[in-house]
Amino acid sequence: MGSGPQSSVGSTAWDGPAIYVEDVHKSFGDVRALRGVDLAVERGTVLGVLGPNGAGKTTAVKILTTLLRPDRGRALVEGRDVARSPAAVREIIGLAGQSTAIQEELTGRENLDIMGRLYHLDRASRRRRAGELLERFDLVGAADRPTKGYSGGMQRRLDLALSLVSHPQVVFLDEPTTGLDPRSRLAVWDVIREMVASGTTLLLTTQYLEEADALANEIVVVDRGTVIASGTSQELKNRIGGDVLQFSVVQRDRRAEALEAVSGLSSAEPLYDEETARISLRVGADGSKALVETVRRLDALGIHPEDLGIRRPSLDDVFLSLTGHGAEQDGDAPKRRGRGRRARIRRER
């Protein structure tokens, strides 16, 4: 406490982390959205903020982008204090919020052009920047159509492009892929990877462990306004027991043999589930190695496994092992991850 980096306005002097958050609290009336959050993001790296609905992700992003003032604590972006010098923070950040801020009557190019005007770029620079970003985000073909007709994925990509018009040093993306189909999600991931490759510091929030895993160097898990775990995605997965290897064996009489064959592949015991006739095994971080070894051993015995594969731990698994209460807030639980799924995970143990 109090021994963290000192804030400084002016980018030259600052050599602390690109984003630094210390003991930030924020309440809305009785709702305590953030209850003492600490974060540090090194320059040029990606932090994934992982949490369920209502965890406080958007509140944290809004504080860091000067849209909300913290009730207590300190938040610095490149050394600039969000509460004391918000204008200095706004100069160097880019934001893509949870809902897209594109204007649907305007074309993609016009949206980018207006952004460029708001950043006081001259005509030639606006045109060049719009061209570059349309190219990079694979929107050239649709550039001159009203964005009303864009698919969800295209709108999202344009929204990300809008947040980059000013070459921001630090970019905040609030749930950049929520609501997209798997293919569009992958396209957005590609775009985000490119942003990172060009040296931008990035903080992104997500409800998907898979997404944080794919994009982030470091992950913090937030729940009910506090950070409940942090580390690389590997470290987190190790903490929750890592990947799960699964397969079933059609030949009933050979199941015992199969169980025998895979035991010893990891420190965990293989489990057999009567109901689904499936064998499962926690294999830690190195799922693919275990997978290859399993195939080899079963093949040597002449056993043919079905539905063989590795299941990545989900947000549910993370929450279950970190908090014991699953990734759902009381009351506003989304339907997409039902109770049945969690029950199954329990049985596997």
Binding site: T66, T100, A101, Q103, E105, L106, R117, L118, H120, S166
Partner: protein, 276 residues
């Protein structure tokens, strides 16, 4: 003018490092960019053109030909001459509806949050909106005036008072836009803003001298109708258009308009800063 002065003093409060002239130039550029944005949006929006042009024209025709026959007035050219200043004021007031709705929608969609996280003059969103609305108002009022001429309306008091009347109509519209801007930013919900807009705009414009002489209303209603700002402004506009005692409501009208702007612009700016 008081309006521009109080607005410019609100520009870029938290950018103390730059000289004032530079800040003002940037604020003007931001305002112009947002202005441009509004115009592009309007040009792509048929519904918008309907509300801007067709709806007011329908009102003119409706009152001129449907209700007009049964409303008795004592002005030079009959009801159509009485009606036009009123309908110009009423349309100007109703045009502000779009201001509130658009701001609430942009707030809900997160567009305003995006602007607030940018190094932009704090008043640019409001100023861009209000200047664009002013242009829209001028277009609407000119269309109405044209239709009015086609259905028999004439100015009786010379060109300069006619021009002043139109300016007063625009001023009334812009003034009510500032109220709408505050409502839109404070209420934040598009649906709520639409229903709420009708609740205050209808009484304000219809319980006035816009369409019928105030004397024809019951006594308790007259008390409100006679003294409310829309009536005062309309009476002044009528005197300008048709000839009459100009000084009668001139100061009161001006005081009301300036007073409303002076109260609601700071409120709207504050709501914009807090909105999230």
């Amino acid at each position: 003018m008081t309006t521009t002065k109080s607005l410019s003093s609100l520009v870029a409060l938290d950018m103390p490092s730059q000289p004032k002239a530079h800040r003002l130039r940037l604020a003007a550029a931001d305002t112009a960019a947002l202005n441009r944005r509004e115009f592009l949006i309007w040009m792509r929006n048929p519904a918008f053109i309907f509300f801007t042009v067709i709806q007011p024209v329908m009102f003119v025709l409706l009152f001129r030909y449907v209700f007009g026959g049964s409303i008795l007035v004592t002005v030079p050219g009959g009801y159509v001459d009485y009606l036009m200043p009123g309908i110009i004021a009423q349309s100007a007031a109703f045009a502000s509806f779009a201001t509130a709705i658009s701001l609430a929608r942009q707030l809900q969609k997160g567009v305003i949050d995006r602007f607030r996280a940018m190094p932009m003059a704090r008043s640019a969103v409001l100023l861009g909106r209000l200047t664009a609305d002013t242009v829209r108002l001028v277009v609407t009022l000119l269309v109405i005036l044209g239709v009015g001429y086609a259905v028999g309306f004439r100015f009786h008091n010379g060109a300069v008072p006619a021009l002043v009347m139109m300016v007063l109509g625009v001023a009334l519209g812009v003034t009510i836009c500032t109220v709408s801007a505050y409502v839109g930013l404070a209420v934040k919900d598009e649906e709520a803003v639409s229903s709420f807009g009708l609740v205050w705009l209808f009484p304000l414009t219809f319980v006035s001298s816009a369409f019928v002489p105030v004397q024809s209303m019951p006594g308790w209603l007259q008390a409100f109708a006679k003294n409310q700002p829309v009536t005062l402004v309309i009476d002044e506009m009528r005197s300008l258009a048709l000839g009459g005692p100009l000084a009668l409501h001139a100061w009161q009208s001006a005081a009301w308009l300036i007073g409303i702007v002076a109260v609601f612009v700071p409120l709207a700016v504050r709501a914009y800063r807090r909105a999230s």
